[in-house]
């Protein structure tokens, strides 16, 4: 029985670790499907996190009343707004000004990580706290509220109902994105833009509009990953560089999931599980880094296998990384 409990706990923790990755990878898939390889996603996730934290901070510290709905809505909206602005920078530079995507993305990541840590640090200072971190306990409590009957259902409840709402939100968004890509007109046109923008353009699809929307919505989804990580997973505590390199891991999952958001649900939980597996298997702590290396190695293997098998449906979007300029066709 103890083993089963342990396994359930491992799974629960994997889901929680995997959720920021799921937001990030879903957002990146949506973006990449439009042909934009946004390497700024790690930065955007920081920005999404800090924007939400700032919103929450002001709500928690400068209003006397407390309303759970507002405690959720305010950080959520400010996170979305922050991610949107960051995505717009990337979009404007690469879509309108046709700048190199890799360079722009990396600059955005530098900017975003800096912005996150800077404002995080500044907020810590404002609170005049002695600890090097910031705690949004009330906000976090709202985000961590679970369904009331979760505890009554034993292990089953623990496995499926013990999470804050954003865990479910991540799954729902991934499924929606998956559905939109596969089964709707918008998805068809978006995929066309990513595969062959000149073709989409000739067919009357507004390529730039699709690229902007995919980049911005994708960025906003990814930003929620940062928000979840701070307000739910870290119990509202912001510390310097807290989010780590999860943004890059999210980009890895995009490849692992061969650009399918529904597969990315499993991929995210799997990678999340690998992140914390060391707690549950009796290996030396020394091996921890090697276990954390696994997701990247697995990703590389997937990337290699996909490119060797050359199944058209599994390859990256054909125009990924290149900008579209109508004159150049």
């Amino acid at each position: 029985m103890a083993i089963i409990e342990q396994i359930v706990e491992l799974l629960v923790r994997a889901v929680m670790q995997g959720t920021p990755l799921l937001f990030g990878s879903t957002g990146e898939i949506l973006t990449e499907k439009s042909g934009n390889l946004n390497l700024g996603i790690p930065g955007i996730m920081y920005i999404g996190a800090i924007s939400g934290v700032i919103g929450g901070f002001f709500y928690q510290n400068y209003t006397s009343s407390y309303n759970m709905i507002l405690a959720i809505i305010i950080p959520l909206l400010s996170s979305l707004a922050g991610s949107l602005l960051a995505s717009l920078i990337y979009g404007f530079l690469t879509i309108t000004l046709r700048a190199n995507q890799n360079v722009t993305g990396l600059a955005l990541t530098t900017f975003g990580v800096g912005l996150g840590n800077f404002f995080g640090g500044s907020l810590i200072k404002i609170t005049k706290s002695d600890t090097p971190f910031l705690a949004l306990s009330k906000i976090s409590a709202a985000y961590r509220t679970t369904l009331p009957f979760a505890n009554k259902l034993g292990l089953f409840g623990q496995l499926f109902f013990s999470y804050g709402f954003m865990v479910y939100l991540a799954v729902v968004i991934a499924l929606i994105v998956s559905f939109v890509l596969k089964r709707t007109r918008v998805g068809l046109q978006l995929r066309a833009v990513g595969e062959s923008p000149a073709t989409a353009d000739a067919a009357g699809v507004n390529v730039n509009k699709y690229k902007y929307f995919a980049t911005c919505i994708g960025g906003m989804i990814a930003g929620l990953g940062g928000l979840y990580y701070i307000l739910d997973y870290s119990k509202g505590i912001w510390a310097n560089d807290a989010f780590g390199d999860r943004g890059w891991l999210a980009i890895a999952i995009v490849i692992f999931a061969i650009w399918r958001p529904n597969v990315s649900i499993l991929g995210s939980y799997l990678f999340g599980g690998l992140y914390i597996l060391f707690n549950y298997v009796s290996v030396s702590m020394n091996l921890l880094p090697l276990m954390q290396m696994l997701p990247y190695v697995v990703t590389i293997i997937v990337l290699v296998i996909v490119s060797m098998r050359k199944k058209r449906e599994n390859l990256p979007p054909a125009s990924l990384g290149t900008n579209y300029f109508r004159e150049e066709r």
């Binding site: 089964r183 068809l188 995929r191 595969e195 067919a203 058209r312």
Partner: protein
């Protein structure tokens, strides 16, 4: 000359002008009238402005001046989408399809009619259209699994699906076998009988006569005349197209001291898509003669030359080079271009794709001269002195118009690009010279420069292999002509006695076998 603007016409153009940059005027004051339910052929030589004009109707370009009227009303067409709204659709020469999508997905791409997205219903609709006009298509097949003619069918259905009443087809037959062309013409007739107006761009006269009701001739961007097909002839059309009757008068000397130089035997090739592109090809190229290769575009010409140049692997067969210095046989099969050169084989190749293969567009003339020779010597550094000299020589002797030898070749005009390329290939004193479509897109003067260069090479004892599309040129330039059809040799003719019809017949000889199958 042109009619008044009225709703009696499906489409009318008035004074349409379009310039690219300051130098190139693609269309100048063009008027055009298109009736309901007719096939109008747009005829003109390469560079006469046909495609640009059609692109303006289809919303790809915007005219600098002039008006477009649809059904007698002034139309503002700024994008392909606008064109669709006026029920105008264009099938481009280069298909614009998403490889990863099915036929139906491609057909409905870009349509936002407010109806629910229903792929199954769309597939049904595609089937209906196919049935109505006589297409054969599987709506669920993915584009990357399709043959060229299937792709073209998808393109045409795409336009019809959008309810287009005016269809523009840009050189639709260039990629088709004769049999497929016949099928296409049947479909076009069905569409015309359905009341649609079809504009078809072509420069094949017999097709113009076969399919069109009227012909519009463009020359150097200007509208020359529009005539009823029934009241005209090939000769009259040619005159209008080229301005005056031009006898080509390409000089051709009697070959002397010919001897075998390159022997190709039993050559078979399958391309990466698994299609058999060369079938048991055998021929001999002789020193001191020009060997022409004729055929419909895509009959294996490109693969043949690239195989000889060491760029594509063969399934079977031999390529034997006979060294002029010692008459020894050298086997070239399975050798890379570098190995071929190291064997002392002086093989030059002017590929069809000049800026994508023969030259590097962003490099200057000097660096392009160096492409073949940069590796010479043991030094780790390149020596730019010889290529600089060569560049200067070629610029002077071939009258290349360029600001300097340091100008990137992509900034030169087509004719000058070709002179640079041919000049370089000839400079290495080849014993075999292969040229693919060397005068495509060139003006008359540049073309003659190229013909003269080839003749000079022949007289120097080079074995010249000339792949061309213009039969008149082939018949006046070449000593012998090999005709390719669907990847196989369908005949070898004497260039001096062969009749044009004879070549044409051989090009389309293998009836019932599609090259794309």
């Amino acid at each position: 000359m042109s009619e008044t603007v009225s709703e009696k016409y499906a489409l009318q153009l008035r004074n349409v002008t379009k310039a690219f940059g300051t130098k190139v005027i693609a269309n100048k004051n063009v008027d055009l009238d298109v009736r309901y339910g007719e096939v109008l052929a747009i005829l003109g030589e390469n560079g006469s402005g046909k495609t640009t004009l059609m692109n303006m109707i289809a919303g790809i370009y915007h005219p600098d001046a002039g008006e477009i009227y649809v059904n007698g009303e002034k139309a503002s067409i700024n994008s392909p989408k606008d064109a669709f709204n006026y029920k105008i659709g264009m099938v481009h020469q280069h298909f614009k399809l998403v490889d990863l999508f099915t036929a139906t997905e491609n057909i409905i791409l870009g349509i936002n009619d407010g109806n629910k997205y229903d792929l199954a219903k769309a597939e049904e609709e595609v089937k209906n259209i196919s049935g109505k006009y006589g297409f054969v298509i599987n709506p669920k097949k993915k584009i990357y699994e399709m043959s060229v003619s299937e792709k073209q069918t998808v393109e045409i259905i795409k336009v019809l699906y959008r309810g287009a009443d005016i269809l523009i087809l840009d050189e639709p037959t260039a990629v088709l076998t004769p049999q497929e062309t016949d099928k296409l013409f049947d479909v076009i007739r069905n569409m015309r009988n359905d009341g649609k107006s079809i504009l078809i761009i072509t420069h094949k006269l017999h097709e113009v006569l076969a399919i069109s009701d009227r012909v519009t001739v463009l020359r150097k961007g200007e509208h020359i005349a529009t005539v009823d097909t029934a009241k005209t002839s090939e000769i009259e059309l040619t005159e209008m197209m080229v301005g005056k009757r031009v006898s080509l008068n390409i000089g051709r000397s009697e070959p002397k001291d010919t001897c075998d130089r390159l022997i190709v035997s039993g050559m078979n090739m399958t391309n990466p898509d698994g299609v058999k592109v060369l079938k048991d090809i055998s021929f001999t190229a002789k020193a001191g003669e020009i060997l022409g290769i004729a055929g419909i575009a895509g009959s294996g010409q490109r693969e043949l030359l690239e195989a000889i140049a060491g760029l594509r692997p063969l399934d079977s067969g031999n390529i034997t080079y006979i060294d002029p210095s010692n008459s020894e046989n050298v086997e070239l099969r399975s050798k890379s271009p570098m190995q071929i050169r190291e064997l002392g084989v002086r093989l030059s190749f002017v590929p069809e794709d000049r800026l994508g293969m023969g030259l590097v567009g962003n490099m200057d003339i000097i660096d392009n001269m160096m492409l073949r020779t940069y590796k010479k010597g043991l030094s780790v550094f390149v020596d730019r002195q010889p290529p600089r000299q060569l560049a200067e020589e070629i610029i002077e002797s071939l009258e290349v118009v360029t600001p300097s030898a340091q100008t990137p070749v992509r900034r030169l005009s087509g004719g000058n690009v070709q002179k640079v390329l041919v000049g370089r290939e000839i400079a290495s004193a080849p014993s075999v010279l292969m040229v693919a479509y060397p005068v495509r897109g060139l003006d008359i003067n540049s073309s003659y420069t190229i013909y003269n260069l080839l003749n000079a090479q022949k007289e120097n004892g080079v074995a010249v292999i000339y792949v061309g599309e213009d039969l008149d040129v082939l018949l006046e330039l070449c000593d012998r002509i090999i005709v390719l059809c669907a990847g196989a040799v369908s005949g070898i003719l004497d260039g001096r006695t062969a009749k044009k019809e004879e070549v044409g017949l051989l090009m389309t000889k293998v009836k019932g076998v599609s090259e794309n199958e």
